[in-house]
Symmetry: C2
Subunit: 199 residues, 2 copies
C-alpha cells in the first residue's frame, strides 16, 4: 500500500487527538492545510506554540486570563453577590452572550463523571468553598449541562453547599426556543410541564 | 463582556478555517489544547510548520509524495494498464484499504462544481489527457463520489475521453454493505435494481 508522506501522517495522527476528531476528519484537515500557503501554516504553528504564553488562570474563578484576578472578578461594576457555577470556560462565553448576567463565575473544570474517574476532588469545588467562606454571595446559580454528569454534580453541590445557607438556583428546564414539541424528549416535556408559567 | 485572552481568540479564529469547523468546535479544540503540556503544543506546531517540507506532488498521478514519480507510479509490480481517476488524495487511501486494486491512480484535485466556480480547467484533466497520449492504459475507472458534482465530472470525462478508445468504467452503485433497504433513498435502490446480479 502506498503510504502517505511521513509529515502528512504525523500531522494526521497529531490532529486526531483533538476532541471529536477521528482519523478521517483529521486527514481532511491536513489535506486542507496542504493547500494553504506556507506563511499561513507558519502563522498557525506560531499561534499554537504561543497559545499558553502570558496566560494564567484566575485564582478566584478559574478562567484563563492574562491577569489574576481576571477582568470579571476584578470588575467592581459586576454583581459580586452572584456566582454562576459552570463546568467549562466555553459555558462562560455562552452565558455572556445573553447579556443578561452581570454576576461572577466559578469554573469547575468539568463535571463529576465516575465512568471517566472524575470525582469531586478533581474539580474546583474546594476553591468554591474557600471562596464562599471568604466572602459569601447572596446566590449561587448552578449552570451545568442538563445531562447525567451535570445532574450528578448539581446534586453533589446542593448537599455540600446546604450548610452555607446561601440561596442556590439552577437554570430553568423546558423547551428550547425554536424547538418543536413533537421532537422534544419526554424528560424535557415533563420538565416544561412542571415548570409551566401562568400567562 | 469579558473577552478571552488574545492568544486563545487568535487560535480559535485560525482553527475555525479548517473544513467543517465552526467557532464552537474551534473553541473546543483550543480549550483542549490549553490542557495539553507545552511540549505537545510545540510538537504540533513543528508538525504544522514542516508539513510541506520535502513533499512534492507526483507529476504523473498528482498525489502528495516525497518523490516524483511517486512510489505507486514508479512501482513495476502495479498494473500500469489500469488508471483509477479519483477526486482527492483521501479517496486513494479508501481504495487502497480494500487491497483489491493494484493499478495506478490519477487525482483530479476536485470535481466540477459550477456553483463554486470550479470548471474542468481547474482540475488535473489536461494532465490526464497528456498521460493517456503518452501511454494509453487498457482501462480507466472513474471512481468519483456518486453525488451531483461527481456525476457531472463523470459525464464530462466520458465525453472527453471517448475519442481515446480506452475502456471506461465506473464504480458500481447499489446498497452499501450493512445498509438497510428501508432507509436507502430511491435513486440508490433504483441503481441497485438496474445493476442486479444473477445468483
Amino acid at each position: 500500500m502506498p503510504r502517505l508522506p511521513k509529515s502528512i501522517e504525523n500531522l494526521i495522527n497529531a490532529l486526531s487527538r483533538l476532541p471529536g476528531v477521528g482519523p478521517r476528519t483529521s486527514a481532511r484537515f491536513v489535506f486542507y492545510l496542504m493547500s494553504c500557503p506556507q506563511e499561513e501554516l507558519e502563522n498557525l504553528a506560531q499561534n499554537i506554540k504561543e497559545l499558553k504564553n502570558n496566560i494564567t488562570t484566575c485564582t478566584i474563578c478559574g478562567i484563563f486570563s492574562e491577569t489574576s484576578p481576571c477582568k470579571t472578578c476584578a470588575n467592581p461594576r459586576r454583581n459580586h453577590e452572584l456566582i454562576c457555577v459552570i463546568a467549562r470556560p466555553q459555558d462562560l462565553e455562552a452565558i455572556e452572550k445573553t447579556q443578561e448576567y452581570d454576576g461572577l463565575y466559578h469554573i469547575l473544570n468539568g463535571t463529576i463523571n465516575p465512568l471517566q474517574g472524575i470525582g469531586p476532588s478533581a474539580l474546583r469545588i474546594k476553591e468554591l468553598e474557600q471562596r464562599l467562606k471568604a466572602s459569601p454571595p447572596q446566590e449561587i446559580i448552578l449552570a451545568l449541562n442538563p445531562d447525567m454528569e451535570g445532574e450528578t454534580t448539581v446534586l453533589y453541590l446542593t448537599k455540600l453547599l446546604k450548610p452555607y445557607n446561601i440561596k442556590l438556583s439552577r437554570l430553568a428546564r423546558g423547551l428550547p426556543v425554536g424547538g418543536e414539541l413533537e421532537y422534544a424528549d419526554e424528560i424535557t416535556i415533563s420538565s416544561a410541564l412542571k415548570g409551566r408559567k401562568e400567562i
